[in-house]
């Protein structure tokens, strides 16, 4: 190990590389994340219009057609252009550095997968400007309403939407092939399966789900596109098709998609709780293996989205049981995190606050999830605001908070700068309060019988809708400290050392930011399990020498 391998002596790479077809996973990771947050703002703006409309019972802010287009695009943008890309960004940054690989297995495929995102993003955004407006049939796009094509043009908002979703599927499949191959084939010497960080376990689980599930959605979307533009009748009852068939194709992927999102967030929780509790992850093997039990069960629960669609009684009962079973491996993880916190030395840093807030929201979402799995309750609340409340607790309350935790935690590693704690804590407070104020009132609304996707509602629903809208506006404000923090820290934040949180993991044995090929030729040999907090055992061979070299390089840098 020589100092020459560290970037302190390399010329600083130009920022313009972020706008090029670059094959370095760390560049691609940041490209994904920055682009995803651009679309986070777009999706958030659409959410503000939705909540603006719903602050009064009448359809008065925008036309009903506009409302339907906006709620459809809000869901689509947030899922396909924010959550999935931002998680792929984290995968790109973390997987190679955590397993000691120089890059992804297929760097050029990786760059192609990324550059498809702005392409389908532009395609989707352009649908706002075609005659007739964007797709308006919800992110499920159920036929026949999605193939009605009011203007009858060949190019319609719905057609662009379907093309974008199909391209997103192609991009995600490319990404999944890459992540799965990298994790299986490119781990550092000594890193057996049960020495691999849990984030990599969850990423492997999630990306396996992508590979199994996405062909179903992508194929289903292409058939729908054929029905829309080529006059086929896969789903059109007028031509002998079956609209319920589409629902099976759609949910066979789109339920597991929730696990594609939440599994890496479980990974983030499992990485961060040990760091900020100064304790090993409680029951590491169980937590790792539970990810794959969730994969198996996650593939056989999709009909719970269709309980009122007209499925036979036996199917309702069967899918209720499988859905309930998912609570067990998920519970194993939740209890493991509590076990990790227990008698730890808790440090309430910004990433830790986001993790704790995310865990709180996730447990709440778990309770309402069990209710939704129960067929008779689901019959009453399905397609109501109860469901909207439930999945926003999962996606925003747990997943987005986990993503923020990850960004604050690994920001110093990949930018070389420290984020500001004060702004981070303000961001957390606004996010946590805003999310609960926004999404909790949706549960009573759903129980009272307010359907989702409505542009107007009966006056008895006003009270809770006003509260939800105020919460949403607070969430809108919460991104201001976040953006301020990210931009100002990256430009002029204090320089980060290689391991500012005193964390254990291969990525923390690299300089901040790491060199282009990470460890290069000098991949350390892994000696023990991750999360050896308090054990005093080294993670890798020659750990003391590696750390001494990193510190020496940092001192050299600061002296310059």
């Amino acid at each position: 190990m020589t100092l020459a391998t560290f970037p302190a002596s390399e010329p600083k790479p130009s920022w313009t590389r972020y706008f090029t077809f670059n094959t370095d996973a760390k560049v691609i990771g940041i490209q994904y994340i920055v682009l995803a947050f651009f679309f986070f703002l777009v999706g958030g703006l659409l959410a503000m219009i939705i909540r603006g409309e719903l602050i009064t019972p009448e359809a008065d802010l925008v036309d009903r057609t506009v409302y339907n287009g906006i709620y459809t695009m809000h869901g689509t943008v947030m899922l396909f252009l924010f959550v999935f890309p931002v998680l792929n960004g984290l995968n790109n940054l973390l997987i190679p550095t955590m397993i000691g690989a120089p890059d992804m297995a297929f760097p050029r495929l990786n760059a192609v997968a990324f550059w498809l995102v702005p392409i389908f993003g532009v395609l989707l955004m352009s649908s706002f400007f075609v005659p007739g407006g964007p797709a308006y049939s919800g992110w499920w796009s159920y036929p026949p309403v999605s193939i009605q094509n009011p203007l009858g043009h060949l190019v319609s908002g719905q057609g662009l939407w379907l093309t974008a979703v199909a391209l997103s599927g192609v991009s995600s499949i490319m990404g999944a092939v890459n992540f799965v191959t990298t994790i299986i084939r490119m781990r550092a010497p000594g890193m057996g399966w049960f020495r691999m960080p849990v984030f990599c376990w969850t990423a492997l689980a999630a990306q396996s789900l992508q590979l199994i599930g996405l062909p179903s959605l992508t194929g289903g979307a292409i058939m729908l596109l054929m029905d829309l533009v080529a006059g086929t009748s896969f789903y059109d009852p007028a031509g002998g098709g079956d609209p319920v068939l589409y629902q099976h194709f759609f949910w066979f992927y789109s339920h597991p998609a929730v696990y594609v999102i939440i599994l890496p967030v479980f990974g983030i929780f499992s990485e961060l709780f040990p760091v900020y509790s100064r304790k090993p992850l409680f029951g590491y093997v169980y937590v790792a293996v539970a990810s794959f039990i969730i994969v198996g069960l996650g593939l056989v629960v999709w009909v719970h989205h269709m309980f009122p669609s007209g499925v036979p009684e036996w199917m309702r009962n069967l899918f209720m049981f499988t859905t309930m079973l998912i609570a067990v491996p998920t519970g194993v993880k939740v209890f493991a995190w509590l076990g990790t916190l227990w008698r730890g030395k808790i440090r309430l840093t910004t990433p830790m606050l986001f993790c704790l807030g995310g865990l709180f929201n996730f447990v709440f979402a778990g309770v309402t999830g069990i209710m939704l799995a129960t067929v008779p309750i689901d019959i009453h609340v399905s397609n109501t605001y109860f469901v909207v409340g439930h999945f926003h607790y999962v996606i925003y309350g747990a997943a987005v908070l986990g993503i923020f935790a990850a960004i604050y935690h690994w920001f110093p590693k990949f930018t070389g700068r420290m984020p500001y704690e004060g702004l981070g804590k303000v961001h957390f407070l606004l996010t946590f309060v805003g999310a609960n104020l926004n999404f909790l009132p949706m549960h009573p609304l759903g129980l009272m019988g307010m359907p989702r996707r409505v542009s107007s509602y009966d006056p008895e629903f006003t009270f809770w809708n006003v509260i939800a809208s105020l919460g949403a506006f607070l969430l809108g404000v919460s991104v201001i400290p976040f953006l301020l923090n990210m931009v100002s820290s990256w430009v002029r934040g204090p320089r980060a050392t290689h391991n500012p949180w005193n964390a254990i993991g291969l990525e923390w044995l690299l300089p901040s930011p790491p060199a282009e090929d990470n460890f290069g030729e000098h991949v350390p040999v892994v000696l023990s399990r991750p999360y050896g907090y308090g054990s005093g055992e080294p993670l890798v061979e020659h750990q003391a020498e590696i750390e001494a070299a990193l510190i020496q390089a940092e001192q050299l840098e600061s002296a310059r």
Binding site: S137, Y142, G157, G283, G331, L341, M371, N383, R453, S455
Partner: protein, 314 residues
């Protein structure tokens, strides 16, 4: 009241008592929340409602206990297990505990399976009562005699969902209406059809919901149990005026119901309620920019338009 759990592997008597007291408090809170849960739901106006609400109340209580338990541990840890300022050291490295893992796998497993079995029983009861019985293969008897009227002496109502109106036809009385009238405590069989896209029939006070699927006729039974005026909403997104696709359900005594049917049969056909058609007609003069929409189907021709603006019970 603060719990005081043991700091070592052995539990002191005081901490056991405190923990037991805290758990007891959580149980009381959970039972109370379970009772509160009924108040979050609309009035119970069908045979299905008490069963669904009982299940919801039970799960609210269980959920409160689980959520309260997890949050208690988090709160305790945040209060008691914080690192001291400038303490950079690690905590005692506890890697795991197989016995605990077995316990917290087994307990949730038993719990969710118990909930599922309870829910399945409710399903079966609901199926016998009517509302869960729907998609089934037609028997030769049914083919000959139409509705499965021999099992339940139910009134037959044909429900036609459109973009965007609801039409209710009473074939026996030769009546059509855009307001649904039902006799209290008498089973009714709906035959659900759609002319255009997916819709959902949803009457929150009855706790029932069923998608209406074009190309299929779905039979659906229920029994209202409380007189009053309730809301029927479209529950499956059906396009531009989805939100406005609502109708009222009037549950009345058997005598009133017969009188209503007889009076309705004497009424001439007229345009029924279709908020969508009204808004669509006004849209021509509106300056508000909108995107494309399919035009609403013309309002159905019915004997009784009824109302969908009167105050309702849920």
């Amino acid at each position: 009241m603060t719990p005081s759990q043991a700091q070592g592997p052995r539990f002191s008597p005081l901490s056991v008592v405190a923990l037991a007291a805290w758990v007891a408090l959580l149980v009381v809170l959970s039972v109370w929340m379970g009772q509160q849960a009924y108040r979050w739901l609309p009035v119970q106006a069908s045979t299905a409602a008490p069963l669904v609400d009982g299940l919801f109340s039970f799960e609210t209580a269980v959920g409160t206990f689980v959520f309260g338990g997890v949050v208690s541990v988090m709160a305790w840890v945040l209060l008691m297990h914080r690192a001291d300022k400038y303490d950079e050291s690690d905590a005692e490295p506890i890697e795991g505990n197989t016995r605990l893992e077995v316990i917290w796998t087994a307990i949730p497993l038993v719990l969710v399976m118990a909930i599922a079995v309870y829910a399945m029983r409710v399903n079966t009861t609901l199926g016998m009562l009517g509302p869960m019985e729907h998609i089934h293969l037609r028997s030769p008897v049914e083919d000959a005699g139409g509705y499965p009227g021999d099992r339940l002496p139910a009134e037959q109502v044909e429900v036609i969902a459109r973009q965007w109106s609801w039409e209710f036809r009473y074939p026996g009385a030769d009546v059509a209406a855009t307001e649904l009238h039902l006799a209290v405590n008498q089973p009714v069989t709906f035959r659900l059809v759609s002319d255009d896209v997916l819709h959902g029939i949803y009457i929150p006070a009855f706790r029932v919901k069923q998608d209406v699927i074009p190309g299929r006729a779905i039979d659906f039974n229920l029994t209202p149990t409380r007189e009053g005026r309730y809301r029927l909403r479209d529950s499956q997104f059906s396009g531009t005026w989805f939100a406005a696709n609502q109708a009222d359900v009037v549950v009345e005594s058997a005598a009133d119901h017969q009188a209503w049917l007889q009076a309705a049969a004497r009424q001439p056909l007229q345009s029924g309620i279709s908020d969508a058609s009204r808004e669509f007609a006004q849209r021509g003069q509106s300056t508000k920019a909108g995107w494309a929409t399919v035009p609403p189907a013309p309002p159905p021709q019915v004997n009784v338009p009824g109302s969908n603006t009167l105050p309702h019970d849920g």
